[in-house]
């Protein structure tokens, strides 16, 4: 009996005109690897490599597991925990973003998601419940001196706001070591492309219109660099005609009002694009003022 070998694989491969498309799901996101001008065997090994790296990062930093560094940090024991070099770098970046955003970008704000889950939510969370969570939020209360981190009792951190973009850059870096061909990494809309395709074309990227799902309003051509979007129009609740989006202010515990539905930013790499997009959205109605000051290419919708 011949066993179908591909059925064991965690990814699929499709041949498209001029490139191979590898697809898998990691971090609850549809992930794509577009490989320009390669043969099927190389496409297969590169996609396998990309999947393995993305999965490694998911397992290491997911807050939904009980066997990783995030689980140890969030265990609530108030101990000093020594973290490894990769975690140091991610926390350093989070720490920097916390400072650069005056405390709006906060990896300790994830606990608010218990109240603001936006899943068939029709009522605002109880104000008293929100207030009760606030003492557990605030990265300035954590004691971070790389490689040692101590979280105050009750504080939990979530690197999900950086993890996907980080995975994109990491995978791109690995692919870069393996191939001289052009490629594009797309993890749920967070994207990196290494160079012009062999036919001198850029990759054409369709950005989904958050107000008309399934339809693309924006086409962006990307040759080299990172592209990331922040904002998600599916996650909101409307109460008494007031729309509450899913970007939460860690200082008040409430959604930030008046901002664009979605921000897309182009930068040198995907993490940089992602951080700029997220911090922009956290500025609410001043998102565009923030982006103008960054001197970067951006798209609002």
């Amino acid at each position: 009996m011949i066993k179908d070998d591909t059925s064991k694989k965690n990814y699929t491969l499709k041949r498209q005109t001029g490139y191979w498309l590898g697809e898998f799901t990691v971090m609850a996101s549809p992930c794509q690897i577009l490989l320009d001008n390669v043969d099927g065997a190389l496409a297969d090994s590169l996609t396998a490599l990309a999947y393995a790296e993305a999965k490694r990062i998911e397992l290491k930093f997911s807050r939904f597991r009980d066997d990783n560094i995030i689980a140890r940090l969030n265990s609530g024991t108030n101990e000093i925990i020594r973290v490894d070099e990769e975690t140091i770098r991610l926390i350093n970046l989070a720490d920097l973003c916390f400072q650069l955003s005056d405390g709006l970008f906060d990896i300790s704000s994830g606990v608010l998601g218990k109240l603001w889950h936006f899943k068939q939510q029709t009522q605002l969370p109880n104000d008293a419940d929100i207030k009760a969570l606030l003492p557990n939020i605030g990265w300035q209360k954590a004691s971070w001196n790389a490689p040692l981190l101590r979280l105050p009792k009750g504080m939990q951190i979530d690197l999900g706001g950086i993890g996907k973009e980080y995975a994109v850059d990491k995978v791109a870096q690995l692919l870069q070591q393996q191939t001289d061909n052009a490629f594009l990494v797309n993890f749920g809309g967070d994207i990196y492309a290494n160079k012009l395709r062999s036919n001198e074309d850029s990759w054409q990227i369709a950005i989904e219109d958050p107000n008309h799902l399934g339809k693309s309003k924006l086409m962006i051509s990307l040759a080299q660099g990172g592209l990331a979007s922040s904002g998600d129009s599916q996650r909101y609740i409307e109460v008494d005609g007031q729309r509450y989006g899913h970007i939460l202010n860690p200082k008040t515990g409430y959604p930030i009002a008046g901002g664009p539905a979605q921000v897309t930013v182009y930068a040198q790499n995907c993490v940089q694009a992602g951080m700029l997009a997220t911090i922009a959205l956290l500025q609410g109605e001043f998102a565009e003022d923030f982006l103008i000051a960054q001197d970067c290419r951006y798209w609002l919708s």
Partner: protein
């Protein structure tokens, strides 16, 4: 290509600072491969250095060995302990002027004498000492933005004991792009020259030319510093320091020629410097990292002035060029220019009363120093080894017409001095 969709017209706007640059630098660091695990906290970081310094004409020679140990106690605290031993030999100018005759001097200790031949600048050949110095420095991160450091220093040579303590506080501002620091140091030195402290202005041949056995000097330093990250490549530093020295600052081994109208030195007296001195300096430094070649250009300028009338300018530049295989070369150029202290004289006229303060020490005279050097570094067994070779040339200047009369006609009162230094470091 850029497409911006205004969601609404806004009446309000807000001003933001540009953080892209900082983010770009931080995110680049994020994706560089993790090469090695950070060193264990309980290991000591050891730096060892050897230095050989030799002045021209067989003047001062120095050999120095230094060992520096640094330990990261935990992530917030570190401690450094350093020991230095140096041995000095050779001869150094005693302050007397050259003469068209041989000169004989009693040794500073009062035991024995030495003779300088015709035309030569008199050198005291008893310059020989061993110095042992120990210091310790402690650093602690007080909070996210505050850094404290404090230390103590002790050095002992045959006739000199130096003790000092220091303390500094630094704070980061402006997304850690700016660091301001404030430091102070206090030093207490005791000198106990062989034979005692000489009586200034009194002849070296006078049997009653000694005052006390020892004397002391106290120094208080204050330092204000500002370091600013200009962009991803450029770092700028600005320091101001003020230093108040009180106590015995005279060099008990330096003497003065008392010269008659024919230029002959018939007597020698001990020098004298004020008990009070206030020194100030302004220091500006820029480090520029040339990307992507990894070259580093390090340029600094210092302006120094004090109430003895000395002002000086120092321009220093180093250019580090990265070669392949982690080798590097670093050319070094330095220029130093100094104006003389108000009480600097080459000699005293016997027709004039002896002034209260006077020195003939060329180091307080008008001079220019040029330094040219090259450092070469390479990894040995995975650790950095480097060796530095430097050449110094000091040009002392002054009024040539002072070489007067039969006693000094045709003599160079301001001989140039040169020195070579060879230094090596190993870090493991």
């Amino acid at each position: 290509m850029q497409l911006k969709i205004k969601i609404k017209s806004k009446s309000k706007s807000k001003t933001f600072t540009n953080i892209s640059m900082t983010l770009a630098a931080a995110t680049c660091a994020l994706s560089t491969p993790v090469l090695a695990q950070p060193s264990e906290l309980d290991s000591w970081d050891v730096n060892a250095g050897l230095l050989i310094y030799a002045e021209g004409d067989n003047q001062v020679q120095a050999y120095e060995g230094a060992l520096s140990l640094t330990k990261q106690i935990d992530d917030e605290r570190s401690i450094n302990v350093k020991g230095v031993i140096d041995v000095l030999t050779g001869a150094s100018p005693n302050g007397a002027v050259a003469q068209n005759k041989a000169q004989t001097f009693t040794r500073p200790s009062g035991n024995g004498s030495y003779t300088t031949v015709t035309g030569d600048t008199p050198l005291d050949d008893t310059f020989r000492d061993t110095r042992v110095a120990l210091s310790t420095q402690y650093q602690q991160q007080l909070s996210r933005l505050w850094l404290y450091s404090g230390g103590a220093y002790l050095s002992k040579e045959y006739d000199y004991l130096a003790l000092s303590i220091n303390s500094a506080l630094a704070r980061d501002f402006n997304n850690r792009n700016t660091t301001a620091s404030l430091g102070f140091a206090y030093a207490y030195d005791t000198i106990e020259p062989e034979g005692g402290i000489p009586n200034p202005g009194v002849s070296v041949d006078n049997p009653n030319n000694r005052l006390t056995d020892s004397d002391t000097k106290q120094t208080l330093d204050l330092l204000f510093g500002l370091t600013q990250v200009i962009d991803r490549q450029t770092l700028m530093q600005l320091n101001y320091s003020i230093s108040d020295v009180s106590g015995y600052q005279t060099d008990p081994f330096k003497i003065f020629s008392v010269v008659d109208s024919n230029g002959w030195a018939n007597d020698y007296v001990y020098e004298n410097r004020p008990d009070q001195r206030t020194k100030q300096s302004l220091f500006w430094r820029t480090k520029y990292n040339i990307q992507p070649s990894g070259q580093v250009l390090d340029v600094s300028y210092r302006y120094f002035w004090d109430d003895w009338g000395i002002t000086s300018h120092t321009i220093d530049s180093k250019w580090r060029v990265q070669l392949s295989n982690q080798h590097f070369i670093e050319p070094h150029l330095r220029y130093y220019s100094q104006q003389a202290a108000d009480f600097y004289r080459v000699y005293l006229d016997d027709s004039q009363p002896i002034p209260e303060y006077m020195t003939a020490d060329y180091r307080l005279g008008e001079l220019q120093t040029y330094t040219i050097g090259l450092k070469y570094g390479l990894p040995i067994a995975g650790n950095e080894f480097s060796v530095r070779l430097e050449y110094y040339l000091t040009q002392v200047s002054g009024d040539d017409s002072l070489a007067k009369g039969a006693g000094m006609a045709g003599l160079d009162l301001y001989p140039d001095k040169s020195a070579i230094m060879l230094q090596s470091f190993y870090r493991f």
